[in-house]
């Protein structure tokens, strides 16, 4: 927990803020430490450790909320924080009101920190990463290189303390590993990746992870493009997770209110196939997957965002809820202590379906199975929902993989895709956590997508 010195510092910041005329104030303190090793040809090619902390002050001045942050947590920053918060508030002309929260009636507090993870020795971690690389090379002689092979773990603490008497603390940790391989058949090269994330180091199986990465690469070797046209598409769960994550902002009430989301005015309407439901669940029992309160200190809750195709709510924080005359959904988010309050999902996922992948392939008959999409940060316009993405996968004939496919793009619109879902797989998985939490999805069979190739 926090040392007394930090408590004193926070009181000094609040005092200085009052001197500057700030009314309600809040300090958000983030603290973290991390460990990571990268293995290259059996050696620790890169070893890194860190310990960081930083805090942000936000304070109300003339009805506006000003922010200032620092990673230098000492007396020399007190004046700068108060002054900057005030100066920033002065320049704002915002009509939406941001408020400091006094607290929810109750919180589902739970200690999810894994003490067990702290007891894993460095030697065990390094040996594991080395084994992962070795297993990848040993898997198949076509594995030409392992461009990256990492093991890492991190822990973090968050403290929210405000002048309305709220004080909340949380702590979490997780371990992760990732391996990326390049397979070559002499002419063609393909890369494949596999990853895991857990609070329990001992669930990591080096051989299994290495095998998965290799099996993601090797079958794609010798891929060719396909004739441009409209195809039914089976989107593998990993590709669905990527697209779904990249599009999660369309549910952000702030973007809806500012006319930057295609879901504006669609509350209560069917925006997807009735086979589809989207869940936001802050209480998942996975490493760093449990959140009792959001970054404004509001108690988190489970909700369906899309229920059998119907949009039931946007993601709200206190400000957007006030503007819309509704209640916050507990999705206030700061990317780090230095960011201002925005909105993000907690653990957000497409609910699992009931169809086997093999059955979906059969139903598709002839079409394309997409295992990987690339270029989401450029080829997807989250405002319009339009996407045109580089893709890889397999050409499917009579429900069987006929040959690998590369150098194609798939294009469409996210909402059209959601409406065109013909079947939902029963192979749900979660991806790596990012931002507020995990994103997950099963594979989806899409009636048709536009594919460009030859």
């Amino acid at each position: 927990m926090l040392r007394m010195a930090k408590k004193d510092l926070m009181e000094k910041i609040f005092d200085k803020g009052r001197e500057y005329g700030l009314k309600d104030m809040e300090i958000y303190l983030g603290k973290g430490s991390s460990f990571r090793v990268r293995i290259h040809k059996g050696e620790i090619d890169n070893y890194s450790v860190s310990s960081t902390e930083g805090l942000s002050l936000r304070g109300e001045y003339n009805g506006q909320m000003g922010y200032a942050h620092t990673s230098k947590l000492d007396e020399s920053s007190v004046e700068m924080l108060a002054r900057n918060a005030k100066e920033n508030a002065e320049v704002l002309t915002n009509e939406d009101k941001e408020v400091i929260f006094e607290g929810s009636p109750e919180y589902k507090l739970k200690d999810t920190y894994s003490e067990k993870l702290d007891r894993v020795t460095e030697k065990e971690k390094i040996e594991f990463a080395k084994e992962m690389e070795a297993k990848a090379y040993a898997f198949d002689k076509r594995i030409e290189s392992v461009p990256y092979c990492y093991y890492g773990d991190s822990s973090g603490e968050t403290l929210i303390k405000n002048t309305k008497g709220l004080e909340l603390f949380s702590k979490n940790n997780m371990a992760y590993c990732i391996v990326n391989v390049v397979a070559s058949d002499g002419n063609d090269k393909k890369s494949g990746t596999a990853y895991r994330c857990s609070g329990d180091f001992y669930t990591f199986n080096a051989e299994e992870i290495a095998r998965e990465a290799c099996e993601n690469a090797i079958p794609l070797l010798g891929g060719k493009s396909v004739k441009s046209g409209s195809y039914p598409v089976l989107m593998d769960r990993e590709a669905v997770i990527d697209l779904f994550s990249a599009c999660s902002d369309i549910f952000n009430a702030e973007l809806v209110q500012k006319g930057l989301s295609l879901l504006k005015g669609k509350l209560g309407e069917a925006i997807a196939s009735e086979k589809i439901s989207f869940i936001d669940d802050p209480f998942i029992d996975m490493a760093a997957g449990y959140r009792a309160f959001d970054d404004e200190g509001v108690a988190c809750r489970y909700k369906k965002i899309v229920d059998k195709g119907v949009l039931t709510t946007y993601f709200h924080n206190l400000k957007t809820a006030l503007t819309d005359g509704t209640e916050t959904t507990g999705n206030a988010y700061r990317a780090s202590y230095s960011s201002s309050i925005s909105i993000a999902p907690t653990n957000f996922y497409i609910e699992n379906g009931d169809t086997d992948v093999a059955e979906m392939l059969n139903r598709m008959g002839t079409g394309i199975m997409i295992t990987e999409i690339e270029g989401l940060h450029a080829g997807l316009n989250t405002v319009s929902g339009d996407f045109s993405l580089s893709a890889r996968g397999f050409y499917i004939k009579n429900g069987k993989k006929e040959r690998p496919v590369e150098q194609i793009t798939v294009s469409g619109n996210y909402l059209t895709l959601l409406k065109d879902v013909a079947a939902v797989g029963n192979d749900f998985k979660f991806g790596m956590p990012d931002g507020g939490g995990y994103k997950g999805a099963p594979s989806l069979l899409i009636e048709k997508l536009s594919v460009a190739g030859e």
Binding site: Y47, S51, T52, N84, S228, A378, L389, S390, G453
Partner: protein, 465 residues
Amino acid sequence: MLDKNFIGSLLDEALSTGGDFAEIYVEDTESNALTMLGGTVYKASAGRDYGVGVRIFDGYNAIYAYTCGSDKEEIAKIVKKAAQALKKDGRIQRAELKEDIIDNIHIIQIPPHKIEKSKKVQLMTAAHKAAKSVDSLISQVSINYSDSKKHILVANSDGRFVEDDRTYVRMHISAVASKGNEMQTGVDGPGAHCGFEFFESLDVEEYARKAARTAVTMIHANYCPGGRMPVVLANGFGGVIFHEACGHGLEATSVAKGNSVFAGKVGQKVANEKVTAIDDGTIPNAWGSTNIDDEGTPTQKRILIENGILKGNMIDLLNARRMNAKSTGSGRRQNFRYAPTSRMSNTYIAPGSDTFDEIIAGTEYGLYAAKMGGGSVNPSTGEFNFSVAEGYMIRNGKIAEPVRGATLIGKGNEVIQRIDMVGSDLAFGQGVCGSLSGNVPTNVGQPVIRVSEMIVGGRDGAQNG
């Protein structure tokens, strides 16, 4: 900043377990950011980021540790922790720290932090109004203003002790056009390693209008047809094609371990003879320039490809060891939270002798990418993709109707062999490049070029030639 004696003691501690090189990096950055949305000042933040990073080499391997803040005890602790990762005998004698005063070529006339926030807001308001005035279909305009002042100190066991200041200013404009249920965007983001005087010579309103015009043009456009076709890429930000398709594959980060399609090919013909490509970190006040890199090595102007022949790579200190080469002053990092590695600075295709009119007239049918979006690449396989923000069909040697939603994909080593025409109108565009060592400001650049054939991702059912 920390004093020389203390840093010397940190280097001693870092070398105490057998490392053969140690480096201390200290950074103090002050930043300001303002967001205007729909004409109101929506967000304002300011902050200070201070931290220290220590790096230790053991042959080809590296240890990196960092911590926030200036508490000497905490810094000494993290250096010790880093050193403990090694347990070797023997200890090298470090060279005495010799202060190096750099010759600053990026003159800052008006430090942005001395400018009142209200003046920055005025500039944003002008840009907002200019974008709105373009067309009644412009439904939203968001403008981000940012400035920062970064002070760094690099000291290492070779005796280097050098400090540098970098001041950045940027304005990012995004305009949205709406019609019925559809929305299209247009963006532009001029920036420089420069003081507030950057905005005195910059027509911010024209940038805003350009972004708005792109959005309006695209809302009226049909989807691009897909397939293989010639592609003409406009000057300036069009240079992102070289950045993605080849630049990343020429960074020592991927070359040194052979994880690049361009590894081991120096001296070989890798591109069409019309292609000469350069990475130049010394252009005064350019967005991707610095006096020294983040390892303290002076930046250079470096030819990567000359008339199609691969000449060199971008190299940092660690990969220089593996490649048995010298650093090219390309070691960069977002901040102290990242160990540096080789990165691009201002990377561009040099001007050729074709003209824009000749290139268009010489193209029977194809795509003209007037504005590019971003992209990405897998350097191991060379596969890249990027998006076209504003595109037009070329028909019968003339620019025809606008098209939306185009993506360009290919393999880097193939596409540079297919650059068959190079114009003379070199220009730059500003980007933020994300890679192993975080996000760093980079310029991309080129004159107008033609690629004889590329796969254009578009939509089925689009009107075809």
